[in-house]
């Protein structure tokens, strides 16, 4: 039995995610869209905290909400005239999108309902994931060690930095 606070928090988060997700993709003003995305990301971060993954939640806020979204905002500022909204979608386009999305949701939803075996599983408590442990895992070469992906990601990020510089450079 969860604490009531947790349950209330969950519902707030869930509703926020659902509502803002929908708003993100339906609003015609791109800046608003980015803003709604920010709310979604925050809500996601809260889920991570609820799962006791504090580090991940922090990363989510720092990188996603803090970094990526700022990039988005910059990009929007550079490419869009402020206040201008995108033209309305044609109904055909919307229908196609809706069909695809709803099909997907329906199929996955059906899948979830039918494989109900794990769906009712409860949160086990007492998991302690501290920074030390994460650092150990990240730089370990044992089983469950993540040194190789870690290094790969760092190289990727480096490449990405260089790429970003090269691409964005004014010629």
């Amino acid at each position: 039995m969860e604490s009531v606070g947790n349950i209330i928090l969950y519902f707030i988060v869930a509703i926020a995610i659902i509502v803002f997700s929908v708003l993100t993709v339906t609003t015609r003003k791109i800046l608003r869209s980015a803003t709604y995305l920010l709310f979604v990301l925050f809500a996601t971060a809260i889920i991570y905290f609820q799962m006791d993954y504090q580090f991940l939640g922090a990363v989510q806020i720092a990188v996603y909400a803090g970094g990526i979204l700022v990039l988005f905002v910059f990009a929007i500022m550079l490419t869009q005239q402020p206040g201008k909204s995108a033209e309305a979608l044609t109904s055909q386009r919307r229908c196609l999108g809706l069909v695809a999305a709803l099909c997907g949701v329906a199929l996955c939803g059906y899948g979830l309902f039918s494989y109900a075996g794990f769906a009712g599983k409860l949160l086990s408590s007492g998991v302690d994931i501290n920074m030390e442990k994460i650092g150990q895992f990240l730089l370990s070469t044992d089983k469950y060690g993540y040194l190789l992906p870690f290094e790969a990601i760092s190289v990727l990020l480096l490449a990405c930095i260089i790429g970003g510089v090269v691409i964005a450079r004014r010629r």
């Binding site: 695809a100 099909c103 997907g104 199929l107 059906y110 899948g111 039918s114």
Partner: protein, 665 residues
């Protein structure tokens, strides 16, 4: 003189062709002509030597049991089809070959000499292409000689093609003029069509007899002297049938068609009048004296086979008799003297063909009667004499044309005063062809008529009628050229006159031969089985034939000696007939219609269209279908990332759904 020289006789002109064609073009014009004439002179002397040796010599193996044998001088294999079917390029001397050697070389020499003058302008400068002309003459002479000395039927075919070629080249000598250009094409194609049948005939014949060689086909039967063994070489062929008819009938009829093409028998005669577009000496050599008798020679060569197949003989008889009359009828109205002579040639060759055909009838196989073989001899005799006087006539015509620069007889008239030598020579030629004794034509034509009367009264009367027409149209031409009215001379300097000696000398020689050739003892020398034939002039027939000739001549004299309105009135009275005859009974138009309208427009053009549009269209359609398919597929590759995602997503969902369904069920 050894008979082996016959090889040289044949080979020398070939050498001259190569020499004049390759080296001669680098030399002066006149000098090549002189070299050509000298070489031909040597060739003629050799040919005479060979002929005399053959006829009067008594070398080893020449006479067996009183029969003069055919002598094969050389016979190397040239093209081996199978072990038995081997084409040989040989040299064979027998009576008709020896006779033909004489005829060909004589006329050829005359023409070589004559051309020195004819192919030059009035100042004696040789024309452009003089070397080419002499090279072609040599090529023709070679081909014709090769033809007559052939040891097998395939060799004859080979040289049939070769004489066709030489004729093509010489007719088209003035190749820039459209008329010559059309005429040589026509000549080649028509004779080629005939040669196709010849080829088919040879194919059929050789398939059943397994041989090309005259040795087995022809001489076996004749020399053995018995018609029982005659069939041995071809006994296998005797009973066989091909497509429902007897093989031999097919083969021999086809071979005759081949000969008919070269010899301009109706309806394959249409090329010959047009062939007169060539230089006149060429007409004299090829289209009057030698090549056109190749068909007659062919039938004569295979005579022992034809004897066995009455059906083929009857076809020859009908075609020959009809052509003789048909051509004579046309010759009566032509205004172009060369064309008139050409039709006269056709008519005379038809005489020879008819004569060959009347040599036998159904009974002849069983019992050899008096006239049997007479027709053969007469035909060869007529071939010989005709070559001489027809060459004479053509060369005279050439001299006249050279003098007045026109072929049309209304540009001539009254030339007797200006060209007396030519006039007399032409008259001799006319008398010879009309059959007035003692000129050559009388003797040969008389024999033909005798043979025809032997065959049947109807045939004899028919041929007599044609003989009468012959006399009429020849004298018509003669009078229209040399008399009729006074010649109008516009320019004293260019008044017609007798031509230089190079041209008159051949005329005189040929005229002399035409006078005496009739006394050659042909019945002793040239007979189908080698036995001498004992004939004497049958004065009832001879008298009647002289009679009809005189009638023809008188008629012509009345109508054309002096200018008078009679011919005009006659022509008007029979307007339709006259026009039809003048237009050569519209045979040319018929051919034109068949070739252009029927074959060209309704066969070739649709076939070409079919090929371009249906066959090629099908492959293009394949290509287009592939193309449009790939364009269709390319539309899927739209480049729109969203479309890709959409399709990808649907695909993924589909897969997921399938998996789920499978798992659940």
């Amino acid at each position: 003189m050894p008979l082996n020289l016959a090889i040289v006789v044949v080979a020398l002109p070939l050498f001259m062709f190569l020499f004049l064609g390759l080296v001669g073009v680098k030399m002066g014009r006149k000098i090549t002509g002189v070299i050509g004439v000298l070489a031909m002179l040597v060739d003629t002397i050799l040919a005479y030597g060979v002929a005399l040796t053959y006829f009067f010599g008594s070398g080893e193996g020449q006479i067996v049991d009183g029969v003069r044998q055919a002598v094969v001088v050389a016979n190397p294999a040239w093209l081996s089809f199978t072990d038995t079917l081997v084409v040989r390029m040989g040299v064979l001397v027998d009576p008709i070959a020896a006779m033909m050697l004489v005829v060909i070389t004589t006329v050829s020499l005359m023409v070589h000499l004559y051309s020195l003058g004819y192919m030059s302008d009035h100042d004696g400068n040789a024309e452009k292409g003089f070397q080419r002309y002499y090279a072609f003459l040599a090529l023709f002479t070679f081909s014709m000689l090769g033809l007559v000395v052939a040891t097998n039927v395939f060799q004859i075919f080979v040289f049939f093609e070769m004489v066709g070629l030489s004729s093509y080249l010489l007719i088209g000598f003035y190749y820039s003029t459209p008329a010559a250009n059309h005429a040589n094409k026509k000549a080649f194609i028509v004779t080629r069509l005939a040669d196709l049948f010849f080829l088919l005939g040879v194919m059929i014949l050789s398939y059943y007899t397994k041989t090309f060689d005259f040795d087995q086909l022809v001489f076996g039967p004749t020399m053995s002297g018995s018609l029982e063994t005659a069939q041995s070489a071809i006994s296998t062929a005797g009973g066989a049938t091909f497509l429902g008819c007897s093989v031999m009938a097919w083969a021999l009829t086809f071979i005759f068609i081949g000969g008919a093409g070269k010899s301009a028998m109706y309806p394959l005669h249409i090329w010959l009048p047009d062939a007169m577009e060539g230089p006149t000496p060429v007409s004299a050599l090829i289209h009057a004296a030698t090549m056109v008798v190749a068909g007659v020679f062919l039938v004569a060569r295979l005579f022992p086979l034809y004897v066995l197949v009455q059906g083929a003989m009857n076809i020859i008889l009908v075609v020959g008799a009809f052509t003789a009359f048909y051509a004579a009828a046309i010759a009566c109205t032509q205004s172009d003297i060369k064309r008139a002579l050409a039709f006269s040639t056709i008519s005379q060759i038809a005489f020879m063909m008819t004569s060959l055909a009347v040599s036998s009838n159904e009974n002849s196989l069983i019992e050899i009667h008096e006239g049997y073989g007479l027709g053969y001899m007469a035909s060869m005799f007529h071939l010989f004499t005709h070559a001489m006087f027809k060459a004479l006539l053509f060369l005279c015509a050439g001299a006249i044309i050279h003098a007045v620069h026109s072929n049309e007889n209304d540009k001539m008239h009254g030339l007797h005063k200006f060209m007396p030598i030519t006039s007399i020579c032409f008259l001799i030629g006319c008398l010879a062809i009309a059959g007035i004794p003692p000129f050559a034509g009388f003797f040969s034509k008389d024999e033909i008529l005798v043979a025809a009367y032997h065959r049947g009264l109807g045939w004899g009367l028919w041929m007599s009628m044609v003989a009468c027409m012959t006399a009429f149209y020849m004298f018509r031409i003669y009078y229209l050229i040399f008399f009729w009215k006074k010649h109008e001379v516009h320019d004293e300097h260019h008044a017609p006159k007798d031509q230089p000696w190079t041209m008159t000398l051949p005329l005189i020689i040929l005229a002399a031969i035409s006078c005496v050739a009739g006394f050659v003892p042909f019945h002793d020398l040239v007979t189908w089985d080698g036995h001498a034939l004992h004939t004497s002039i049958d004065w009832t027939v001879a008298g009647s034939s002289i009679g009809v000739a005189l009638v023809g001549i008188c008629l012509a004299t009345v109508m054309y000696r002096k200018e008078n309105p009679l011919p005009e009135r006659m022509a008007n009275a029979m307007r339709g007939l006259w026009t039809a005859s003048y237009k050569r009974f519209y045979m040319d138009e018929l051919y034109q219609f068949i070739t252009h309208k029927v074959i060209f427009q309704t066969i070739c053009v649709p076939i070409a269209w079919f090929d371009r549009h249906i066959i090629d269209g099908f492959f293009n359609l394949l290509a287009d279908a592939t193309n449009s398919l790939s364009f269709g597929i390319r539309r899927l590759q739209s480049g729109s990332i969203q479309a890709y995602v959409y399709v990808y997503l649907l695909g993924a969902l589909l897969l997921a759904a399938i998996t789920m369904v499978c798992v659940l069920l």
